[in-house]
Structures are given as C-alpha cells and as structure tokens.
Symmetry: C2
C-alpha cells in the first residue's frame, strides 16, 4: 500500500521532467557524477524507468544541452548585425555560466544537437543579413568558434568545471598559483595578478573573466567588421 501511495504521490515521469532533473542535478553535483542511477534516485524511480523517456545516456546529454541552448535569448532582428550578434553571444555566455558543465558536454559530443544547429544557423543568417558574403560568413563562424557558444577557456582559473553550488566555495581559496609554480612560470605568475610587489601571497586578484571574454569578442568583431567594410571577397 505504501508503494501505491508512493507511486501515486510522485508526479509521473516525462521526457521533459527527466531532462530538467538531469540539468539540475548536473548543476548541483557536477556532470561527472551524473549517472542514470543517481538521476533515477533523484526522481524517486528505478534506473531503467528513465529509458522509457530517453534512449540512452548520450541522448539524455543531448537533451540537456538543448535545454540550455533554449535558454539563450532569440536574435534581435531590428539592430545592426554587430550589435545583434554581440548581444546574443553574451546571452549565450550567461546561459552557459549558469551551467558550468555545459561547454564540456557540448564539446565532447560528436554530433551537434538540432538546437545548436538552429542557433548557429540563425547566427549565420544575421551575418548574411548584415551584408556578409557566404564565404566570409563561413570563415567568421569558424573564427568565432566556441566563443559563438559563449564560452572561452579558463585555462588559468580552473575552478568551477564541477558545479557544487552548495556551501563552501573557497576551500582552495584562490589556489591558482602556489608560489612554487610562480618561480617556474614567472610570466604566467606576472599575468595571474599584480604579483611580486608583495612576497607573501603571490596570487593576485585572478582575472575578470567577463572582461576577458568581451575583450576577445570585440577584438574579433572589430577585425571582422573591418574585413566586411573592406569588401572582403575571397581567400586573399
């Protein structure tokens, strides 16, 4: 009878509920500890029940990615191409910052999901509408690369990646440059912060990731705009 109550009380599963629960679980505990068993447990269900709603784990991941891509603001059509593209890319970045596991999940798939293709397609459309030739638009898409999807690399600041939104974030407080490494890689140390002016803690304030992202984005957009304005036509 208790079983009946449990069964009845719990909202019925659905593909959508499975995907949302998976995204939430990955946000909380990191993608590497998202298993079919954990997810099923979270939903109060037996692992195999999930397979009635997703074909396998790979398809689950694809669905999760599409949930995130769905959070990206649609393209504005009234503004000029540069403004519209810039805003949309920053919106994509915001979406991905909410789900730190997403970049890796996207990159480790070998097939783009429909939602991603749709996103990229509309981006090309914005470029074409802004006067870009098919060829130039093509090269621009490659040049923007993953930046188009809102993520740059955080090579220096390898926090995050896992999620763990919970309690203590700074157990390895800045942790990035442990002073022995500073000696071995002086240029990186200099870059990692104001450094050196204080021989106690070598670690500076780290980087302003948002600034770095926009710096690179604008560098690319300005260079791209120059090509377009110069009437770039074919491989020079």
């Amino acid at each position: 009878m208790a079983e009946q109550v449990d069964t009845l009380r719990r909202a019925p599963l659905s593909r959508d509920r499975v995907l949302r629960a998976a995204v939430a679980l990955a946000d909380e505990t990191g993608i590497e500890s998202l298993s079919m068993r954990n997810l099923a447990n979270e939903l109060g269900v037996v692992p195999m029940a999930l397979y009635k709603h997703v074909a396998n784990k790979d398809e689950l991941l694809a669905g999760m990615i599409d949930v995130i891509v769905g959070e990206i603001d649609p393209l504005e059509t009234d503004a000029d191409w540069k403004r519209a593209v810039r805003r949309r890319i920053l919106s994509a970045r915001e979406a991905l910052l909410r789900h730190p596991w997403a970049p890796l999940a996207i990159e480790s798939r070998n097939e783009a999901t429909p939602a991603i293709l749709d996103y990229l397609n509309s981006m090309v459309g914005a470029l074409r509408g802004g006067g870009f030739s098919t060829d130039l638009a093509h090269h621009v898409m490659h040049a923007m690369g993953s930046r188009m999807l809102g993520f740059s690399q955080e090579l220096f600041d390898p926090t995050r990646r896992a999620g763990r939104s919970g309690a203590a974030e700074p157990p390895p407080p800045p942790a990035a440059f442990p002073a022995e490494a500073a000696a071995a890689f002086p240029h990186l140390a200099a870059i990692a912060g104001a450094a050196a002016h204080d021989d106690e803690s070598v670690v500076g304030p780290g980087c302003d990731d948002q600034f770095e992202f926009e710096f690179a984005l604008d560098l690319l957009l300005d260079g791209i705009d120059r090509l377009r304005a110069d009437g770039w036509t074919s491989r020079p």
Copy 2:
C-alpha cells in the same frame, strides 16, 4: 616456464613506455576506448601492473598530454614576436592533429599539466619580449584561448574525434549535411558547401580546416598587433 619466457622476452615496463603505448592506443582506437585494462593488455601485462608506473588514470592522461605537448616545436627567439608566435601555434596544431583525442583530454582536465604551463609561460614571454605590457599580454592570452594550443572547433565537420586511423575513413562519406537538415538550416547548408546548385548531393567539399584555422589566427594576430602598435595600455 612459458611464463618465464614471456616475462623475460617482454621489455620491462616504465612510465615512459606506458605513456607512449597509451598515446598510440588512443590514436588508434580513440580515447573513449582507452581503459587501463586495454592498455595493460596491449603491453602484455596485467592491469594492476600499470599502477606501479602511474598513480591512476587521471595521471596517465596528464602524462599523455605532456607527451603531446613535448612534440610542439620550441619557440624561435630570433624572429619577431608575431612570426614566432604564429609558427609555434601552427606547430602546436600539427601536434594535435596527430592526436585528435588530445583537445578533449586537455579541456576535460581541471588542472593544467606542467608542460602546458611551461608552453603558455614561454608564449607570454614571447609577447613580453615583443613589447607587450603585462596587462595586454594577459588579455591576449585569453583572446587566443584554445587557439593557442592549436585547436579550433570543428563544429560543422564532426568527423575525427575518435581516431580510428585504420581502414575505411568514408563509411559515412561526407555525412555532414543529410539534405533534410539542409532544409531546416539553410544558412548552414549554404556555408557547408557550394550547395544548392546541384539538387542531388547537398554536401559540398566541406571546409579547409587549415585555411579556417589560419584565417582566425591571423585575424586575431592582426587585431592584437594593432592594439600593441597603438600603445594599448589599460582597459579602454
């Protein structure tokens, strides 16, 4: 006795031999099917024997990455910064093209390996030597992002990724744009090839990845050079 012969005949294991075998195996069968068991089997050894030479699988992966990074040509010191950086990045790209699993392996680690830090450190050194301020060098490193390590994104051309250097490469021949997708994503289809002029095979010649990589690289390097020449100092 046969066991003795086997034991004696086989070259003794070493960390180096383990790492090289792992790289070779990943090249051949793809990183996702590289397991401690497979690798041990390849070396004619029992799985646990590997743990006398690498601490665990994560450290194995780190070692494999360092093997690849070690294949990158050293930085030339005589040439001007732009030329030196460009050549080195293209050398990094060549190294990574030989090991298609490497980008994902690098990105999925949460700590950079010493060899990668060394590589990046020397790259910053080249910039500083070329007259870049610490700040500008910092931003430039972020702007170059993963391109610094020689890989761009192959979002449109999701072949590779696995390796399988063996026999038939074109079982899914071009496979990229299956004509139904072309209707849904017309801009991408236009970009993916000459397209449309022939209603039979929608797929064009695909992209020249090397050209795309250098296009983006030079776009960035030129933009960066302009900033440097303009005496870029701080956040504008």
